[in-house]
Symmetry: D2
Subunit: 340 residues, 4 copies
């Protein structure tokens, strides 16, 4: 509709000439940017008058919606939250675990057990507890390449997969038959002790239900060849725990089972399971209801899962270092049966 | 401040009596609910006049924030979306796959291949394509209990875990060394054919890089004992595909490799890989760029993963039916080495 | 000790000359290879006689152990197998599914449902059954990006992970609250029908236990706006199944629940669940005990898992195609609470 | 054929009477157990002579195959092992980690870092190293509920799944975009320092390749508001590490980047990454080749995965404690697009 003014004098002159020519040809030519709007109005009205176009009703343009975050800030809108979370807040300058800043954790010389205490139990347990948690992790970190978890991790590592896939493939075998003994020991010992069952009543009622007492029995160890790890844990607990009533209960159960067979000793699983109950009960930081919830949710299984992850990651690295090829299970080891 | 009017005449009289008594004692007593507000005002002004209370500045009460969903509906607020999704819309009366309603899928007698076509490729491929996709699924559904995937699934099932954990533990072994041959065959055949390499150039350049040609070679099959599955697939493609140029390329590559050794036949992986390229190229529904993207993203791996899931789920059920106990790999099969 | 005979005459003469010289110098010189052993014996006895060396007791060399595979073949050793498997045999020229060769599967134009039938049920179900299995897969293949499974898959895909990790991350959400309704519907309908409970007794006893009847109820659908998919499935079953007694039971339960509220219709989950019972009962290929085992093991969950894998793989590809960046859940959507 | 001698005299007499009667009736009656075999022979020959039975050729009975484990023990058979493993031996009275018995680990008061040292590095690193490993675990244990890993774990926990499934669903998001910064920082700093690149050369060459320098940059922290955690780690390393050359290199890189923008500080990832290099180089327990292998295999990723497992397990417990229902992503947050 109009020729924009240009930089050089020559160009300007040329523009003026063009505008003039357009005007003479009947065009409406504004001479400045400000003249554009009135020129459009004049052109529009002329077209309406000439009957070229029919005016329609004015539409009120929709107001531009406000951005959500500014609307929330100004208090105009209340957006519901879909997630609740309580263990770690990452919104500030540095994350906090149950309210404790990460730099405080370094400054105070916290250990792995202390961080587990904060993120799982939402409180800072005394050091004798967090040290015991670390001991459990050490003892459960690995149990050789033949158990289900390590085996699957090794197979996946040999398939050339990434670390997480290898770890995960092994973790998925942890459950009722592999890794579940500590949890079970804690559950049964707690129930039996709280119901004040005598060792005889406890063991025989388990037998009646066809359930082996979890935490009792060892392939090699026996009355005269005790498991040193059990002795060390018991020794630690006796010198550091305010009370060890659940462990004592496990010990008198062991006395009874040993009277039946010499290898029915309290094993590491049973020792950890019963001592964890003592940890929860003795520190006086949990209500009875909270302890029940912890046992029901399965925190001890969490300890086993975390601990064994160390071993499974180790097996992944080991196979990679050894440059092992794709594993194929030998045909000779499989009974191909059609009749089952 | 006033005694509320009560139901019975006797109560009303009693209320009037009480009000009268209060008034006489100096209380301001409204005689109706409507009189409450002016009475409060009178009481307030009297207390101010008497200097009992000091009036403070009026506070404008904060407006109650609006609920997010109504604010979005009314167009006041624009909430940014954090997720984009294009394959399935579940907001209406029934979900749609790439725009096709589920009941239409049943009515039109769609097969599994058609649904894969909609959810993966976002278009309805012709039936000769979706039928070929189904054939690939049949052929890759299982390969016995000894391969990595089935083995891990069997171990996890024997650990007493749920179906998803068993399936997943096996799936995680799928990758470069297990299940990757179809994808690799498609990639290398496409690259070689598109670059117009002669079979000699292709095979020898692979050899030069130390890479075995994927899709070529079989443990048992040979020039004089062809794989029937390959023959059936080729036969299907020749009668149903508009063109089979990639398959033809694979066949002349095979002719060259057979001249080197009699077992270097085109195997099922190579056959599926090359025919899938023909499927994409021949149906004229994908741009060249889209085909490249499909191969790069790894759709063929998706086919293998989906297909093999049928077998892995089958192995899970099989072990459960057989009531197999926890698997432990035999010690004798492990070389415990310290010196590596 | 001796100079080996050489090729040319000149060399031979030269060797003889050297041997002669050695003999004269006191060496024991054998004149042929056969003479080597006696020469060693003479030399040894001479050294013993001279007291240069002291003879020690003869050691019987250990016999070289036989290789395991040849020992098994010759019947000398019986190696126990550690794994039993029944669904697929991969030892021959081509794998067989429940005894059916893969090329037969292609030749006979089997579908995905037929292969599932072989690998899961170990028998070739009639086509009306395998077609119904395929219909279930179509209907359960996806349900949009907002459900737990698809959401986790999308998040993992946006973290740049491989296909299997994305799929698996989503599959792991399938369980009691997500995807479990079909299985539950089958279990409860079977139990109620087999115990000959009236719809009133069934629904009210569920209510008494505080359990919603699975398979009944819809967000949108109602008495006057039936779900077309349910109608199509019922229509298919009525024309193809020999009997539909479980479906009929579900329908009379629906009649009762509709008398309580108009949206308590039989939904797709309930329809599939009850019809799957009819499939098992009507084909006369399973004993009552086998049907109970199938329901207990959770084959219907397997169908859902397999079907939804199609959607989860589709979502993985979708996000990759869209080149979506790392997902981070918005802070504003989280209630950070310390007091729980 | 004969009546066995019995205990009492009366019985014996009675047996003799019976035998006599049998003999008289024509039966061949041995008078002792030893007489049984010749009696059978006589009876057989008599029947042959009488033509009652026809003698057939003697069959050599197949020798009963020996059991594999006894055949291996006796050295007759050599079974190849299919798995090699070096980190943990579980065959003795108690498992050993890289040769160290578990009870020794308790007795010597080892920490989590020491066990990681044994199972991952196959050697007992000095305490300043294992303490540093523990510090890394503390700092990486969690980063709130909004990051990919925690988010997926929360969603899976709210689907009512078991602990392992929840943990795993979150772990699977760890990879190039989430959790990979420490590893990347170590790789790039090592390469740049070993190639003696000046900070200018290093940073600008990264910029040229379009790669952000990993380990540099923070959302909030800046030149005048340093990250306390970085300061604490550096302080620890300066007082305990024999040398900190990689950290010093990272610091001069930071000096250069700070000259470009004030928030381009060395962050926690970069600090851990460079200090881990110093750990490996300074303890003089690894060859150069071993260090390269450790970085290539991705041990630092292992540290992150293990550490973050603590947080993911914590989030699982948290959601369970809060009894959160099934998560469904809000429709409003999704852009359903058809045109991509």
């Amino acid at each position: 509709m109009f020729e924009k003014g240009a930089k050089s004098g020559g160009d300007l002159e040329s523009a003026q000439a063009k505008n003039k020519a357009l005007e003479e040809a009947g065009a409406i030519v504004p001479t400045s940017f400000e003249g554009l709007e009135p020129a459009i109005k004049i052109a529009f009205q002329k077209l309406v008058e000439d009957g070229v176009i029919l005016p329609t009703q004015e539409i009120v343009p929709p107001s531009v919606p406000e951005d959500l975050s500014s609307a929330i800030k100004s208090g105009k809108v209340r957006a519901p939250t879909h997630i609740v979370s309580t263990i770690c807040d990452d919104r500030g300058e540095e994350p906090t675990y149950a309210g404790v800043a990460m730099s405080t954790i370094i400054e105070k010389d916290f250990g792995v057990g202390d961080v587990i205490s904060l993120l799982w139990f939402k409180r800072s347990l005394p050091r004798y507890c967090t040290k015991f948690i670390e001991m459990c992790i050490l003892l459960c970190a690995d149990h050789g390449p033949c158990v289900s978890g390590a085996h699957n991790t090794i197979v996946t590592s040999r398939a050339g997969k990434d670390l997480v896939s290898c770890l995960v493939s092994g973790l998925l075998t942890i459950g009722p038959r592999f890794g579940g003994a500590i949890d079970d020991a804690a559950r049964y010992f707690k129930d039996a002790n709280d119901r004040k069952l005598s060792p005889y009543e406890f063991v025989e009622s388990m037998k009646g239900k066809g359930i082996r007492v979890p935490g009792i029995g060892h392939r090699i160890k026996s009355r005269d060849n005790r498991d040193k790890r059990v002795e060390l844990l018991q020794q630690y607990a006796r010198s550091h725990f305010p009370s060890v009533k659940y462990m004592e209960y496990a010990v008198i159960v062991e006395t009874y089972t040993l009277s039946k067979a010499s290898n029915l000793v309290l094993n590491v699983d049973g020792c950890i399971g019963s001592l964890f109950l003592d940890l929860l009960a003795s520190c006086a930081m949990f209500s009875q209801q909270e302890i029940d919830e912890i046992i029901e949710i399965g925190y001890l299984n969490g300890l086993f899962v975390l601990a064994r992850s160390i071993g499974l990651i180790g097996h992944t690295f080991d196979q990679r270092r050894l440059k092992q090829p794709l594993y194929r299970h030998p045909w000779e080891d499989v009974l191909y049966s059609k009749y089952v």
